[in-house]
Amino acid sequence: MTETTIGTLSRIAGSFVTAKGMLNAKMFELVKVGEVGIIGEIIRISGNTSIIQAYEETEGIKLGEKIIGTGKPLSVELGPGLMGQILDGIQRPLPLIADKIGPWIEKGIEVPAIDRNKKWQFQPIISKGAKVTSGDILGVVQETPSIENRIMVPPEIVGVVESICSEGDFTVTEPIAEIKTSNGIKEVLMMQTWPVRQARPYKTMLHIDTPLITGQRIIDSFFPVAKGGIIAVTGGFGTGKTVLLQTIAVWIDADIIVYIGCGERGNEMADVLERFTHLKRTDSDHPLLSRSVLIANTSNMPILAREASIYSGITIAEYYRDMGYNVAIMADSTSRWAEALREISGRLEEMPGEEGYPAYLSSRLAEYYSRAGSIKTLGTKDREGSITVLSAISPPGGDFSEPVTRNTLQLAKVFWALDFNLAHRRHYPAVNWFMSYSEYTSFLEDWFLRVDRDWQKLCGDARALLREEEELKEIVALIGADILGDKQRGVFELAKMLKEYFLMQSAYHPVDVYCPIQKTFKMLRTLLKFNEKISTAIDSGVPLQKILALPVKVGISRMKIVPSNEFDSVNAKLTADMDEQFEVLIQEAREEKNND
């Protein structure tokens, strides 16, 4: 890396500084501004003056101070040591900053993202003389107990392995192999850098056919997530976006999680950090952090770093995808990111588009979301990896017609609409079952059929029931409840049971927090069976009151808190009890009829 003085400051106005004498400036080159060395990006060049967007507060910077050029655009470092890190939007490790200067982040602080001194045990898996191409794996490093880092030939290098280190401990900046290419011999380090605004290359995009199970019943059954998909989680403040996203981050069956706190609350971020550090899934011995990368750029941290944070995050996600992992990346929230974009655009005095957002909002969103997908990676041997993007959107006033929501929905295939009314009743996750959708459902048919051959019917019947309740509600609101027969009252009761016992799920209950997909469908089957039974019983003249007093109803209400290893036996007993109890009721009704 060559760092040279390339100009001097001639104007400072907020986070925008102008520098003169910048003959060697390149567009989007990363520079350091002033004595304290605030990081900035060149965003406009005219003659020998450049306009630089500073990533931190410029207060205290003086006229005539120097600009240092780094010669490359905003990039992230990729290599062993990233996993388990907590970074800010421009990849500075927050724990190291805290160790170095205490609890407040001072401007201009420089700490490399990846520890230069730490030695990693490298194990080669390729030998001298092998022909390699970009993406081929040279060797592996156990990065954390849960994740093996596969050291790849960096993009744009093709050739023959001239030399490779034998097993041993190396730092990320020591060369571990030499490759003879048509342009001479290239050294390969365990670390590479990559410009964040440029997507990393892959071979081909794959068809979407596998879901990522989240353990949330309403999501896995009604609005499933596909591996490599794009999901928008939308809702006004207080509808539970953050809790839902965090719960999913813990339980989704991806290999690696990249979690971006983008312009959100510091205290909430502290909670995320704590949870990721301590929380272990029941199926793992290691805390979640050992397979996650966290990016925290809270609302009071520099706005430009907030804008950059989602790109930093997705570049890191791509790096692990290229190794052949399934990565889920979550950004909370992209509305805050879009606001950063708007703020920057406003300060640049660009022509505002809708609601003050710049006209390029939709293309920027597209640039981000197009990096999602299930792919075949570069390299001689076939490897598959994927990035699933989940984004929280916080529309002002909960209005889904605003630009960020609308433009995102042009790209996202899954929409979870979080509902104020449900949240007010403390019905969480407050996913509205009428407004939400998943366009992946049809792609995932084969996979779900293998779990439960009736899954479409189960979900269809359940949703039909909810619709029926909604229609009945309208009628009741107009002409009153006293016209309802037992059959219609039964619909209300069952819809209520479906909501309370199935759709509602507690993020704080040790069992309920995660529901395996098999259990989800089984629960649905039992509930719908209860519904059928109600129908037949009422037809046979059993009053609804009696049905609702059946002891089996309590069992149904507690299905969700039955641990999954006991569920099958509990459920079998429940269905048997149900048959029996209904049989008694119907028998009684018949006898009564006969007595009359």
Binding site: S10, R11, I12, A13, K20, E35, T58, E59, G60, I61, K62, L63, G64, E65, K66, I86, L94, I97, A98, P103, I105, F237, G238, R265, G266, N267, E268, M269, A270, D271, L273, E274, A296, T298, S299, N300, M301, R336, E339, R342, G346, R347, P352, E355, G356, S394, P396, G397, G398, H424, R425, R426, A477, L478, I479, G480, A481, E500, Y508, S557
Partner: protein, 464 residues
Amino acid sequence: MTKSNKGLTFFTVNEIEGSLLECESVVGIGYGELVKIITKDGKEKTGQVIDVSDKMTVIQLFENTSGLNIKSIGIRFTGDTIKLPVSMDMFGRIFSGVGKPIDNGPDIIPEDYLDVHAATINPYSRLHPTKVIQTGISVIDGLNTLLLGQKLPLLSGAGMPHKRLASQIVSQARVPETDEQFTIVFAAMGITSDEMVLFRNDFLKMDAINRVVMFINLAEDPAIERLLTPRFALTAAEYLAFQHDHHVLVIMVDVTNYCEALREISASRLEIPGRRGYPGYMYTDLAMLYERAGIIRGKKGSITMIPILTMPDDDVTHPIADLTNYITEGQIILDRSMFKRGIYPPIDPLICLSRLMDKGIGLNKTREDHKQLSDQLYYAYAEGKTVQETAMVSGEKALTNTDKLYLKFMERFEKEFINQGYYENRDIETTLNIGWDLLSILPESELARIDPEILNKFHPNYLK
């Protein structure tokens, strides 16, 4: 290369427009630097560099520019950014929005000078709030619990008793695990003189004045000063919390006035307006204030924040309220219709939220039934409201027997749980028990959010 011009006076002003001065640049001016403006008669005004280039420097004056003359005003660059002199003698004192004593008392002897634009707290160094503050107000403690280190705004409308409520919280709130009262930092922005007297008298009456530091920017003070008021106040709060281990409660009133000032200053700088004319950076600007609340690992003190804002037209989707809610950890909203019905505090729990609540309540914290009880009360009250709407549209005949019980619950809930006296200080135990009493109106089968074990332990039907 860079040198300071400290101490030199320049007579290079070219233009005065509104509260902005434009002068020729001199070498080494820093962005954000504090500037002294010396008028003809020797008086000093202060300003700040907001734009500096080779050719010219723009200075934002913190006071009005009337009477200034281009030829005769001198400018002195201080080489320093805006700082607040701090000391433990600040208690009981009243300062202006820019940190000058306005209570006719002497200047304080500073222990230190602190930059009012504090550096950002590293999210990694934050400790997540887990301790409940008992405010003695049922609807807050029971349903929207406030935790130590949280920022929870009171959203109100013109004429509603938010100030009274704030006073009540100040007087009743206790630091968790101790019986100590909070240290109060009070930041008033754009309030009237009589309101200031009112607050002061309140603090005097409750014998709190010696643990209060007041920063007052009155309605007639310059708008730019209003932008600095909360920054000065928060700097004082940080000094008390993180250098002197105090548990500080910061009350900011009224954030709406602050945002109006932000809009005014932005317009005067000809910036491109965002939603409803407020500058596009309002979210970030507010975040810079609100995010100064919290607890830091390794520090004994804490900052808890209650910003108060009056929503124009009671509109919660107004940008000021909307952006605030996206930054703070929940919101307490005062409701006009409850206010009209004479309920105090007129807080509609359905639209309120404390995001951190779940971390602070439960077994060994408040009581094991707290979470489930609160969820059930929420559900029942929401259900009661729905029933009420149905009854309004289609009359009582549309109601089932259970519906009628929900209606009864709703009415008593408002009267007995939400409603309480200005001097009534309920502990959390009492609050929860009132909740149980009210729930017993409903049939047990309706209490689906409560586990049977909890029900058996706390439901009045099972209590001896």
